[in-house]
């Protein structure tokens, strides 16, 4: 009789290697907007193959798990249906402006799953050998931190938690929590051989370990403010990737190892790019209570903010030859992206050359402004990144800033005492005329007075971005009607 006991592991192996290849090929196709849609589809095929093949694990389960197999299969299908179904519906329905918190929560889910795998390995005492045990613990630690940290990031972005929580000695407390988690991990590693004693009850220590890890993720994220979120989301993306890769080693699954490490490297790269765009180190973003330290000197800047009516600003732009628009988080907060493009189309119809300039850290996650503009229907060849457009401001008639502040503050170029000195900014101040749409007088996230607003060439348009843009549209349309 021919036995085919090797067949399931062959199929699983082939499916996993296909998945690993398709993930990398899919991500590679995402490097251009023209091929990006097919990229995610390619990666999706890899995922389906790997998930379907993983049900072949039923042919080689742990003998002790055999009696429970039918129940476990039922549980697996239920979990897939509920988790996948709910997340799919949420992902289909969420508003584009809510994308940062959505990405944060999916990211936390991945970290939680990796932490769960580590927990099962530890509680079940499956991880044999010091190396595997260390890797399991490390992956569990990173996964749990990513899970709780991403959850806090979600709560902040969603507005459930409104203010950064800061207190004196916070860094010391955070360091102590991390040290405690590492110490408990040490106890688990060294106690692994001994049988249960009064001080050594493995499951208790494992619980304490995860409690500290989860607590650290919360404590680390609570003090971080909204505008630093692009860095935080990128870090947790890298963390989850790393945790998945490490647990992939524990489970001896190269597809998890490869996918996890690819994502880990991607997240690290994005983290560094975001920190670079703020001219700060990653540790400065995570461990410094930015904003509080920034005490601006009142009266250091001469001049005053000069308000102007939306319609007047709109008419000025209508007769300009070139306009550059700089969107910031305020555009997303006001959900004004559609109105903005409606206004831009009116300008274009009048022969004005309109372009968008995006700062790398505008918004709450890398590239958020690009997505909002794309949603409104703005073609991506109208959207320019900092380095590509910054020299053109000097020859531009009007620069219009919408809900952005620190990324256009010329103090970053000139004022050595400014906390944002050295940060690359968009040179809006060099345009012949600047309009700033802003909810009211006030400082930016960094708490710094913006010299741009006081410049001779700058006028303020106060109000909600959506209302202001509606008034601008009316202003230009009214002009057309009057002419006719």
């Amino acid at each position: 009789m021919i036995t085919l006991t090797w067949l399931p592991s062959l199929v699983i192996g082939l499916a996993d290697i296909c998945a690993a290849f398709l993930f990398m090929y899919g991500l590679q196709r995402m490097s251009s907007p023209a091929t990006a849609t097919s990229g995610i589809r390619v990666a999706g095929i890899g995922m389906i193959a790997a998930v379907l093949a993983s049900f072949l694990y039923v042919f080689s389960v742990d003998p002790a798990a055999k009696p429970l197999l039918p129940v476990n299969i039922g549980l697996a299908l239920t979990a897939l249906a509920i988790g996948g179904g709910l997340a799919w519906l949420a992902g289909r329905r969420v508003a584009m402006t809510a994308m940062p918190q959505m990405v944060a929560i999916y990211n936390g889910m991945g970290g939680g799953a990796a932490g769960g795998i580590a927990a099962a390995e530890l509680f079940g005492a499956r991880a044999h050998g010091a190396t595997v045990l260390v890797v399991t613990l490390l992956g569990g630690l990173i996964g749990a931190v990513s899970f709780s940290g991403s959850s806090i990031a979600w709560a902040k972005l969603q507005g459930v938690i409104n203010k950064p929580l800061r207190f004196k000695g916070q860094q010391v407390v955070n360091a102590l929590i991390m040290a405690a988690a590492v110490c408990v991990a040490g106890v688990i590693i060294y106690g692994g051989g001994a049988s249960a004693t009064l001080l050594w009850v493995p499951s208790t220590w494992i619980c304490i370990f995860f409690a500290f890890a989860l607590l650290f993720g919360i404590a680390m994220t609570l003090p971080i403010g909204g505008a630093d979120m692009p860095v935080v989301i990128s870090i947790y993306n890298a963390f989850t990737g790393l945790a998945v890769g490490l647990e992939g080693f524990v489970l001896q699954n190269p597809a998890l190892m490869i996918a996890g490490m690819v994502v880990g490297a991607a997240g690290l790269l994005l983290t560094l790019l975001m920190a670079q765009a703020m001219n700060r180190s990653v540790s400065n973003v995570v461990f410094t209570n930015f904003g509080e330290a920034a005490k601006s000197k009142p009266g250091a800047i001469k001049g005053e903010e000069k308000p102007v009516q939306a319609a007047d600003a709109a008419i000025k732009m209508r007769y300009a030859a070139s306009v550059i628009i700089i969107p910031g988080y305020g555009l997303a907060a006001a959900q004004a992206q559609q109105k903005l493009y409606e206004f831009v189309k009116l300008l274009q119809a009048a022969g004005v050359v309109v372009r968008f300039a995006i700062h790398p850290v505008a918004g709450r996650m890398p590239g958020q402004m690009d997505v909002l503009l794309a949603e409104a229907g703005v073609p991506y060849d109208m959207i320019f990144q900092l380095d590509d457009i910054n020299d053109d401001f000097a020859t531009t008639d009007v620069a219009m800033v919408i809900g952005a502040n620190d990324v256009v503050n010329p103090a970053a170029r000139t004022d050595k005492s400014s906390p944002i000195f050295g940060m690359p900014i968009l040179n809006a101040d060099k345009a012949k005329q600047v309009y700033v749409i802003k909810r009211g007088q006030g400082k930016g996230y960094a708490g710094i007075v913006n010299a741009l607003f006081y410049g001779d060439n700058c006028n303020m348009v106060y109000g909600d971005a959506k209302a202001v843009l509606s008034a601008m549209i009316e202003g230009v349309k009214g002009l057309g009607a009057a002419a006719a």
Binding site: F55, A79, G83, W88, M257, M382
Partner: protein, 117 residues
């Protein structure tokens, strides 16, 4: 025949090193305009952790392991489905101002001319 995989020590480190390098190079070429979909796309890719969750759940020997495994699969499945949904939605929105079907129209015009001749 045996197709079980055994990756230990340096073999695993080599895989990690090459994968991290590949990730760095691939992602480094993605333009800033696509950074959000890239992040949610890579988010989707680490959803492969659901496969590890399935392995854990199918091998669960008691209620504790079943609970943890269920939790891991639930979260992993959410990661996969949600990551895919938002990424494909975002990517579908990116368009150029050059009329998209120009290439097709051009093709049609050419074949039309060919027929005339």
């Amino acid at each position: 025949m045996n197709f079980d995989i055994a990756l230990t020590g340096f073999a695993a480190l080599y895989i990690f090193m090459l994968a991290a390098f590949a990730g760095w190079v691939i992602i480094g070429r993605v333009p800033a305009i696509l950074h959000t979909p890239l992040m949610s796309g890579s988010n989707f890719v680490h959803g492969i952790v659901v496969v590890g969750g399935l392995f854990t759940l199918l091998n669960a020997r008691d209620v504790l392991e079943q609970s943890i495994g269920f939790f891991a699969v639930l979260l992993g499945a959410g990661n996969v489905a949600g990551g895919y949904a938002v990424t494909s939605r975002m990517l579908a929105m990116f368009k150029t101002s050059a009329p998209a079907p120009a290439h097709k129209a051009h093709h049609r015009a050419r074949s039309h001319r060919a027929k005339k001749a």
